[in-house]
Amino acid sequence: MLTLCSPVDTALHRWPAGVKLAAVALGSAAIFAISALPVMAGVLVALALVYLAQGRAFARAGLRLLRPLWPFFVVLAVWHLWTADLARGALLAGRMLAAVGLANLVTMTTRLDAMLAVLERLLSPLARLGLRPRVLALAMALVIRFVPVLLDKARDLRQAWRARSPRRVGAGIVLPLALAALDDADHVAEALRARGGL
């Protein structure tokens, strides 16, 4: 399974993940505090330059990650044209773009294992509540392994459906898919116990 981390190796990849996460937290807070349009424009230009400095392919991939935001730009455009308050609309759109762009930058330059290591460290205080880091790591590994397994299962079910029925694939495959997940969970639990348990 592919991660969203960019395969284009950049200098940002070598920053520690914890530093980048702290920077994105502070940066987002700052972006939400901006109320002047020129400042927001400056932030956006700076962010765009950071993306471009990592190479064209990297910047293109970054742009692709922003695509799901377009319905909200349409909503803001329609709304603020209606209320004739375009400056406010532009600020809100800029804020959305800057906050998401900054967060995506961290995701694109941090490898999955580094991110998971930070996540584990952040959650380590929960050990006192009974959530051991080892168990958490195993749970995450199981999800990463079983998403492709269940996707294969879903593909088989869709093909079986199409072989049987001229109708398009419907929600009928969700029950067998959930059943497969339950059965796999039981098998893996048995396998874990057989190997000495958690």
Binding site: L92, N104, I144, A178, A189
Partner: protein, 180 residues
């Protein structure tokens, strides 16, 4: 212990797969993501606590950079986008759905249907609408208008979640942990 862990992990994977499977026609012609169906199922099948944990595990991996959200989205950016409220609502929705199925000692279908509606529609959209209202700087009723087109599909998904939960309770009664 092992069973709890593997059920939580496998249902976290199921949420992802339901969002990634291309084109399941819930209503013919309208492609609706089945991801929230996965969240409802986590609650109604695994119960409140385990269901919420499965959803949190899923969100943790999304935040870490795996493209597991519907349409292959993921990463930290989705937590800065206007739909962040829905993501916050995911675990709460699963918790409420699970709580209803655990506590309401009626037949599994109506219990799961009610749980899916209260959690998967009620809690989910309250959180989502608050999120959109903050991120887009609109009043709550204005943000609620944006959520309206999704209600019909969500009602359908609640029915599906209930039917699937009943099916699982028949086929694997011991595995439906919300009632086990």
């Amino acid at each position: 212990m092992e069973r709890n862990l593997t059920h939580i992990a496998l249902f976290a994977a199921l949420i992802a797969v339901l969002g990634l499977v291309p084109k399941i026609d819930l209503v013919s012609g309208v492609p609706i993501t089945a991801q929230s169906l996965g969240v409802m199922l986590c609650g109604t099948v695994l119960g409140a606590r385990r269901g919420a944990l499965a959803v949190l595990l899923f969100l943790g991996l999304v935040a870490a950079g795996l493209p597991l959200l519907a349409g292959g989205r993921g990463g930290l950016g989705v937590f800065a986008s206007p739909t962040v409220g829905y993501l916050v609502g995911f675990p709460l929705a699963a918790f409420v759905a699970g709580l209803v199925v655990e506590r309401l000692r009626i037949a599994i279908f109506p219990a799961a249907f009610l749980g899916a509606i209260l959690g998967g529609i009620g809690v989910m959209h309250v959180c989502g609408i608050i999120g959109m209202s903050v991120m887009l700087d609109k009043s709550l009723p204005e943000a609620a208008v944006l959520a309206l087109p999704f209600l019909a599909g969500d009602l359908l998904k609640s029915g599906l979640a209930a039917a699937i939960t009943r099916g699982l309770a028949r086929l694997r009664p011991a595995s439906v942990l919300s009632r086990a």
